[in-house]
C-alpha cells in the first residue's frame, strides 16, 4: 500500500478542525453549566440527610457513575423522545446537540454532586460551630464560611472534571454531531489521510487540555490563598511542621554510594 505520510496535511487540517472548536466548547460549557446546577441540587439532600430524596440522589449518582457515558448518550437520544411521547410532548425534531448537552450535563452532575459533597464534608465541623458561636444563622454560616472553603477544596477535582468532559465530547460524533472529532472523520475520509487528521485532532485537544489545566491552576491558587504559608517569620508555627518525606526524594538522596549526607528537614 502506497501511503505517503505528509506532515503538511497536519498543518493544513488544524485550521479546518478549529472551525468546529466552538461546537466542542459549547458542549463543554453547556454540560458543565447544567452539571453544576444539577450537581448542587443532587448534593443537597445527601448533605442535609433528607430521608427519601437522599436515596433518590444516591441512585442517580450511582447510575450515572456506573454506566458508560456512551450508553447514556444512546439511552437519552433514543429513550427521551419515547418517554416524552407518552405525555404527548414531541421532541423528535430537536437538534441532536441538545440531547448531547443534556446527557453530558446529567453525567457531569453526578460527579459534581460527589465533589461538592466531599468538599463540604472536608470543611472542619468546628468552622460551622465557630460561625454559630458568633451569632451567624445556618444560611450565613454556609454561604460565608463553609462555601468559600469548600470551593477552594473542590477546584482541583472540578478542573479534572472539565478536562474529562472536554475529552468526552469526542463521543458526540456517534450521534452525528459535527464537533471536532466528527469533522476529523469527515476530513479523513475526504482526503484519505486519516493519520494526519487524527494527529492534528490530538494536538488540538492536547493544547486545549493544557490551557484549561493552567487556567484552573490559577483559579486554585487564588481560591486557596488563605492556606498559603508565607515564608519568613510570620507563620513560623506552621512552617515548623514536619514535611512529608517520600520514597522518591529518599531514593534520590540515599542512593547507595551517594556520599552526600542526607538532609533531613525536621
Amino acid at each position: 500500500m502506497e501511503y505517503g505520510f505528509d506532515i503538511n496535511y497536519v498543518i493544513d487540517f488544524i485550521p479546518k478542525l478549529l472551525s468546529t472548536l466552538n461546537i466542542t466548547l459549547l458542549i463543554v460549557a453547556g454540560a458543565i453549566g447544567l452539571g453544576l446546577l444539577v450537581g448542587f441540587v443532587v448534593a443537597l439532600p445527601r448533605l442535609y440527610n433528607v430521608p427519601v430524596l437522599r436515596n433518590v440522589s444516591m441512585v442517580y449518582v450511582s447510575f450515572f457513575r456506573g454506566t458508560p457515558i456512551l450508553i447514556q448518550l444512546f439511552l437519552f437520544y433514543y429513550g427521551l423522545p419515547e418517554i416524552l411521547k407518552l405525555i404527548y410532548i414531541d421532541i423528535s425534531k430537536l437538534p441532536v446537540l441538545y440531547f448531547v448537552i443534556l446527557t453530558f450535563g446529567l453525567n457531569v452532575g453526578a460527579y459534581v454532586s460527589e465533589t461538592i459533597r466531599a468538599a463540604v464534608l472536608a470543611v472542619n465541623r468546628g468552622q460551622v460551630e465557630a460561625a454559630y458561636s458568633i451569632g451567624m444563622t445556618g444560611y450565613q454560616a454556609f454561604t460565608r464560611i463553609v462555601l468559600p472553603q469548600a470551593v477552594g477544596i473542590a477546584v482541583p477535582v472540578f478542573a479534572n472534571l472539565v478536562i474529562a468532559m472536554l475529552k468526552d465530547t469526542s463521543l458526540a460524533f456517534t450521534l452525528g454531531v459535527m464537533e471536532m472529532t466528527g469533522k476529523a472523520q469527515t476530513l479523513g475520509s475526504l482526503s484519505q489521510h486519516f493519520i494526519e487528521t487524527y494527529i492534528a485532532l490530538a494536538l488540538i485537544y492536547l493544547v486545549i487540555s493544557i490551557t484549561l489545566e493552567r487556567l484552573m491552576l490559577v483559579a486554585e491558587r487564588r481560591l486557596s490563598r488563605h492556606l498559603r504559608r508565607d515564608s519568613g517569620e510570620k507563620n513560623r508555627f506552621f512552617a515548623r511542621r514536619r514535611k512529608r518525606v517520600t520514597l522518591g526524594r529518599l531514593t534520590r538522596e540515599l542512593k547507595p554510594g551517594n556520599k552526600e549526607v542526607p538532609r533531613y528537614e525536621a
Partner: protein, 236 residues
C-alpha cells in the same frame, strides 16, 4: 412505537454473549497498562535520564487527548507501520492479519498505561521513606525492598484509585465498537437495530454495565478490608 418492557429482558439475555468480550478488553488493557504504568512511574520517580522525560511526555499526551483519538490513531497508524516494516524486512506479514480486537487491546493498553502510571506514582509516593530505610538497614537491596516492602504498601494505598481506573476502562471499552469489535455496546446496537427497539436494548446494556460496576466496587471493598487487616490501629 411503544415502550416494550418485556423486550428489556430479551435484550438482556442476548447481550450476555458480549459480556466476555467487554471483560476481556478491560482485563487485557488494565493488566498491560499496569506493566506500562509501573515502568513509567518508576522511571519518573527515579528520574532515569531519557526514560523519565519520555514517560512524562507519554503521560501528558495520553491524558490530554481523548481515548477515541488514540484508538483511531492506532487503527489507522499501526497498519502503516506494520506494512512498512514487513515490506522492508520481507516478513511476509501484513496488517490485515491483525484481528480487529487487537487494535482495541493495543490502544486501550496504551491509554490505561498513562492513567495507571499516575495512580501507581501517587501510590509509591505515599509510602514513607522510613520504610525504604528500614529495608536497607536490614540488608535488602533496592529491588528487594521495592518488591517486598514498598510495592505491597503502595498497592494498598492506591487500591481505590486502581478500582476507579478499572471501572473507567470498563466504561471506556464501549469505544471498541468504532473499530467493529462486537462488545456490549456494539451488541446492544445490533440487537436494537434488528428489532427496532433502541431504548429497551440500551436500558439492558446500561443495567449490565451498572451491575458490573457495582460488582467491581464490592470486590474492591472486600480486598480493601483484607489488605488493611494489619493496621487496625491501637497499640499492638
Amino acid at each position: 412505537m411503544k415502550l416494550d418492557p418485556s423486550f428489556i429482558w430479551t435484550a438482556f439475555v442476548q447481550l450476555w454473549s458480549a459480556v466476555p468480550t467487554t471483560l476481556l478488553i478491560t482485563l487485557v488493557s488494565v493488566l498491560v497498562g499496569f506493566v506500562i504504568g509501573t515502568i513509567t512511574a518508576l522511571s519518573r520517580i527515579y528520574r532515569i535520564p531519557v526514560l523519565s522525560q519520555l514517560s512524562g511526555a507519554y503521560v501528558t499526551f495520553i491524558r490530554g487527548t481523548p481515548m477515541l483519538t488514540h484508538l483511531l490513531l492506532i487503527y489507522f497508524g499501526l497498519p502503516m507501520i506494520v506494512d512498512g516494516l514487513s515490506a522492508q524486512l520481507d516478513l511476509g506479514w501484513n496488517s490485515a492479519k491483525i484481528p480487529m480486537i487487537g487494535f482495541a487491546y493495543i490502544s486501550f493498553s496504551i491509554t490505561a498505561g498513562a492513567y495507571l502510571s499516575e495512580v501507581i506514582r501517587s501510590g509509591l509516593l505515599a509510602v514513607e521513606r522510613g520504610q525504604m530505610e528500614a529495608a536497607w538497614s536490614i540488608g535488602m537491596t533496592t529491588p528487594q525492598a521495592l518488591r517486598r516492602i514498598v510495592f505491597p504498601q503502595a498497592l494498598a494505598a492506591s487500591l481505590p484509585n486502581l478500582s476507579n481506573s478499572v471501572i473507567g476502562m470498563l466504561h471506556a471499552s464501549t469505544l471498541a465498537f468504532t473499530v467493529s469489535v462486537v462488545d456490549l455496546n456494539a451488541k446492544a446496537q445490533i440487537v436494537a437495530s434488528t428489532n427496532w427497539k433502541f431504548f429497551e436494548a440500551y436500558i439492558a446494556a446500561a443495567l449490565i454495565f451498572w451491575g458490573l460496576t457495582i460488582f467491581i466496587e464490592r470486590i474492591t471493598g472486600f480486598i480493601e478490608r483484607r489488605i488493611n487487616v494489619y493496621s487496625k490501629g491501637g497499640v499492638a
